[in-house]
């Protein structure tokens, strides 16, 4: 029995030491990124019945890709060439039926509250201006509906939509870190992506599946600022109610440094 006891304790304590050592290493030294995200980028959990059984609180990271021309939704894929896919490490990009292509873990770079978001605001403004002009020329129901819809879209873009934009994926961290070294608002994390081949227009794209760490746990000392809040509907145009200071460490894993209430 002594042999079992010794091996068992080594497994249990050794594993925990390794895990906690990894956490300490992640938080050691200078953070790889530090951002103050708001409710626009960090959603509260859903108040489903399952939540009643779980008292822990975690915030999910909301990110976007830049909208394409004439498209009003934000796709979770980006256009890419076959060579770029090969450079990302995909070997099966020549598979034409997309039947069974697995995801790979890649490094993703995000831009927070930068040029990409400004461009989205400009796009939303232009759409609204066009709709407003059309309505002023002819005040039909359709034009009125469009004017109101684009007005709301613009307000949402300015007030509630996420400002965290996907910029680029890479197979290695260093190339992204070097490329964006001069920018303070860049976040590099790991995420899963897989290639897609469009047989009709013969183009390739990279489908951005999800981040490797999708949720950020809120430690007890910061939950007070959030505990009485409920998740807002995506259609609501409500200014963000909280801001969260987050650091990302050596292993690109995040942790919350502070949580502040923005409105009372």
């Amino acid at each position: 029995m002594k042999k079992y006891l010794l091996i068992g304790l080594i497994i249990l304590i050794g594993t925990n030491l390794a895990v906690l050592g990894g956490v300490a290493y992640n938080r050691m030294g200078e953070a790889t990124a530090q951002l103050t995200l708001t409710e626009r980028e960090l959603s509260l959990p859903y108040n489903s019945s399952a939540r009643k059984e779980n008292s822990g609180m975690s915030l999910s990271i909301d990110w976007r890709t830049p909208s394409r021309n004439n498209e009003t939704y934000y796709p979770r894929d980006i256009r890419i060439t076959k060579d770029e896919l090969l450079a990302l490490g995909f070997a099966q990009v020549d598979v034409k039926d997309n039947y069974w292509v697995e995801s790979r873990e890649l490094y993703w770079a995000f831009e927070f509250d930068g040029a990409l978001h400004k461009a989205e605001v400009i796009k939303a403004k232009e759409k609204y201006q066009t709709a407003l002009l059309a309505y002023e020329e002819q005040s039909s129901d359709t034009n009125s509906y469009k004017k109101n819809e684009y007005s709301e879209s613009l307000a949402r873009e300015k007030t509630t939509n996420s400002r965290l934009f996907f910029v680029e994926a890479s197979a290695d961290y260093e190339s992204l870190a070097t490329k964006f070294a001069a920018q303070q608002n860049i976040l590099i994390v790991k995420g899963l992506a897989k290639p897609y081949y469009n047989n009709s227009d013969k183009t390739y794209s990279l489908q951005l599946m999800h981040l490797s760490v999708r949720h950020i746990m809120v430690p007890l000392e910061y939950t007070k600022a959030l505990v009485d809040l409920k998740r807002i509907d995506r259609q609501d145009i409500t200014p963000p109610r909280y801001a969260v200071d987050i650091s990302w460490g050596n292993r690109l894993e995040p942790w919350i440094v502070d949580v502040k209430r923005l409105t009372d």
Binding site: M1, L9, I11, V19, E102, S103, I216, P219, L220, E253
Partner: protein
């Protein structure tokens, strides 16, 4: 009185052997074939009585049919109790962890599996049948699973397949310490998943997608099948059976999937060629398993081989005939094939019997 060392299963077998002997002796006596002298009969009876008493005290074996039935009930109760308690631990932690600070959360997560591990070892030493130690061991394993997965959530750690390796190591350790087959099963499943994940990662896929390529399971299942040949499991009741059956399921299920769904193979042939290839492999391997099981007297290997041979055969019948054949003919052919299998097994059984008589 002999002082030979037994395992619990050896002792149970010996008790059953004694009962069979007593019944046969009574039959022989009734038929007038053999009647022991009163003195001899009493001598044998006394010896068996002492032996049974000793086994009952030392190994907690069942000496009657009633106690055997009760033991089965206790085993089922202990299995259900252990599973329910393991699930309860998860819900208990989820219910309250939001109200406690991170250092206390970490403290609870680390001390829970350690203390339950110590409890299970202590109970395993004290108990003869180890019902409670097995429950404590399973709850300890589930606490360890909770420990690592919750540390991952608390500290926002990137998920890693390595957790499966340590869960497997701990499950194996508990299985051998408490002689628990359920824990051995969890250990085998965890280590096989870990190896399959690693193989998947080497071929470029994300580790969670390991199940999308069934061929990832071939190497772990072969290793698991060979393991009981390399390590003697005399002291551990039913461990070899668990190793072989789980390994066979892990090799035959992927083959069955690939024989119907060739596109998910690593092989670069056309889907129909891959499916044909795996159908052939499936038939050859399941027939070989039946042969190996008969040769080595591994009943579980023969039975598992039988089940998969029939599955391969029936899926093929379904592929060939289901769409165009009238259903009464389809099921009639299934029935005929079962009769054919019955005849083949009967011939094998007869030849085995005649070999047994000759030897």
């Amino acid at each position: 009185m002999e002082e030979k060392q037994f395992t619990q299963s050896d002792a149970q077998n010996r008790v059953e052997q004694i009962s069979a002997f007593e019944q046969e002796l009574a039959e022989l006596s009734n038929d007038g074939v053999l009647t022991l002298a009163q003195e001899q009969y009493e001598q044998v009876q006394n010896y068996h009585h002492q032996l049974r008493d000793n086994f009952s005290k030392k190994y907690d074996v069942d000496i009657s049919t009633q106690s055997k039935q009760l033991t089965l009930g206790m085993k089922i109760a202990s299995l259900l109790g252990a599973l329910a308690m393991a699930i309860s631990i998860f819900f208990l932690f989820f219910q309250f962890w939001g109200y406690i600070s991170t250092p206390i959360q970490v403290g609870i997560l680390i001390t829970a599996p350690v203390s339950l591990f110590l409890l299970s070892l202590s109970l395993a030493q004290k108990e003869k049948s180890a019902y409670f130690s097995k429950i404590a061991a399973l709850v300890s394993l589930s606490c360890f699973v909770l420990n690592l997965s919750m540390l991952g959530q608390i500290f926002n750690i990137t998920p890693s397949p390595n957790a499966f390796a340590v869960w497997a190591a701990f499950a194996f350790l508990l299985a051998y310490a408490c002689n628990a087959r359920l824990l051995l099963f969890f250990g085998i499943v965890s280590i096989s998943s870990f190896i399959a994940m690693k193989i998947g990662t080497w071929s470029g896929i994300y580790w969670i997608s390991f199940g999308e390529r069934p061929e990832n399971f071939f190497i772990p299942s072969l290793l698991i099948f060979i393991l009981p040949q390399l390590v003697i499991h005399k002291r551990f009741t039913g461990f070899e059976v668990i190793y072989r059956v789980v390994a066979m399921i892990m090799i035959f299920l992927p083959i069955l999937i690939l024989s119907n769904w060739g596109k998910i193979s690593y092989l670069s042939w056309s889907a129909s060629t891959i499916e044909g290839f795996y159908q052939l492999i499936g038939f050859v391997l399941s027939a070989s398993a039946i042969w190996l099981g008969i040769k080595r007297h591994w009943g579980e290997v023969t039975n598992t081989g039988n089940v998969f041979f029939i599955l391969f055969l029936y899926t093929k019948f379904f592929d060939w005939w289901w769409d165009w054949m009238p259903k009464y003919i389809f099921f009639f052919i299934l029935g005929l094939s079962a009769l054919l299998a019955l005849m083949v097994f009967k011939r094998i059984r007869l030849s085995n019997l005649s070999e047994g008589v000759a030897s």
